[in-house]
């Protein structure tokens, strides 16, 4: 068992210009649109699979041939639950990442998108959240937040296993847009799963366009998930989700954070990775959502 504590960022003054039983949380597709995403229909990976062979070259996080696909109907679920993030640090320095809704007023991302000694010298000052951003088109209002949280294991020692951050929102944007369910699943349920990762990479679309790729989980460790899915800088914080069957809703099982440099050499695989949602992490996440008013009916 890991004893995890939540750490919240201090309030800033007005800003200047700048392996256990499975456990899940409720999800929502938001207000019905009467239209189903064609991208979701054709692109989403579901269930489990045997090994998928791909051409591999180099050691970067685009693993060989770049198989990412741009999402154009980002105004529809599940893509609209995924948000382009622009962070602003205490010095005014900016950065780009990805986040996703897990409740009406709560967004999850990587821990280093809210607190990083390396990139911000501590807590970020403000994050602009743009749901479903599609290049120059913003299908929904951009909202800003100055209230964040992470885990003590991340804030205190930047342990990649706990690289998870929370953005508290003032507006209940999830009521309209929907939110992902998340699940702490035992390793045997994750092994061989096909996972989906969608976010805002800077090499294609300058961090303003959403790209998706899917492939198989290569390895599950005690606290991490390793997969053969193409990603790039800017996709930190993207949801790593599964569909347990062809009709099952999306279920987030990890938060994308690392390229191949985060995969231990001893594994002898080329993979990108995410901290897993483990039960202790899920407990903290539930508490974060509760701080924001909780899930309706929960």
């Amino acid at each position: 068992m890991v004893d995890l504590k939540s750490v919240a960022n201090p309030a800033f003054s007005a800003l200047e210009a700048v392996p256990a039983p499975r456990s899940t949380t409720p999800g929502s597709l938001g207000i019905a649109t009467g239209e189903q995403s064609r991208s979701a229909l054709y692109l989403l990976a579901k269930g489990k699979s045997g090994p998928l062979l791909r051409r591999r070259t180099g050691l970067e996080s685009v693993l060989g041939q770049d198989d990412r696909v741009r999402i154009l109907d980002t105004e529809l679920p599940p893509w609209r639950m995924i948000c382009a993030l622009e962070m602003r640090g205490p010095s005014g320095a900016g950065a780009i990442g990805t986040g996703w809704l897990l409740g009406p007023r709560t967004l999850l991302t990587a821990g280093h998108c809210v607190h990083s000694g390396r990139f911000f010298g501590g807590w970020v000052r403000e994050i602009a959240v743009s749901p479903g951003r599609n290049g120059a088109t913003f299908p929904f209002d951009t909202v800003r937040s100055t209230r964040f949280a992470s885990l003590d294991a991340w804030v205190g020692r930047e342990d990649p296993d706990f690289d998870i951050g929370c953005v508290h929102l003032d507006q209940p944007i999830g009521e309209r847009l929907g939110w992902f369910a998340i699940g702490a699943l035992p390793p045997n349920e994750l092994e061989g799963c096909l996972v989906n990762v969608s976010g805002y990479p800077i090499d294609r679309g300058e961090g303003a366009e959403q790209y998706h790729h899917r492939n198989r989980v290569l390895r599950v460790s005690e606290r991490r998930l390793f997969y053969d899915v193409d990603t790039y800088g800017g996709q930190s914080g993207a949801p790593v989700w599964i569909h347990e069957s062809s009709n099952a809703p999306p279920l987030v099982v990890g938060i994308h954070a690392y390229g191949t440099s985060g995969t231990p050499a001893a594994f002898h695989i080329e993979a990108n990775s995410a901290p897993r949602i483990i039960p202790e992490v899920l407990d903290r996440i539930r508490a974060w959502v509760k701080e924001d008013g909780g899930w309706p009916g929960a």
């Binding site: 998108c113 961090g207 800088g233 690392y258 440099s261």
Partner: protein, 91 residues
């Protein structure tokens, strides 16, 4: 773990600073997150790196790309890193 401050600038083919270029670490000898930094008005960026080797890649607003290899020793600051953007894409 000690870290070293790394200050750099992104410039175009004429040496002019590029604001809002995107900088990320595409390869490293230690785990590095997939976040991207935005350069300031003078093309400037700053980060702290642990000991190790890193490949930084910058993307300009018109698809230009530049790279720099960085070796970091404990406690030794890097203050003059310049990434020049070139036209075209990397294979």
């Amino acid at each position: 773990m000690t870290v070293s401050r790394c200050r750099g600038r992104v410039v175009d083919a004429d040496g002019v600073p590029v604001a809002r270029a995107r900088v990320t670490i595409v390869a490293a000898s230690v785990p590095m997150p997939e976040i991207a930094l935005l350069t300031g008005s003078e093309g400037d960026f700053e980060l702290a790196l642990p000991q190790g080797r890193f490949r930084l890649r910058a993307h300009g607003p018109r698809g230009e790309i530049g790279e720099a290899e960085v070796g970091v020793e404990d406690g030794v600051a890097l203050t003059d890193l310049v990434i020049g953007l070139d036209h075209g894409t990397l294979d």
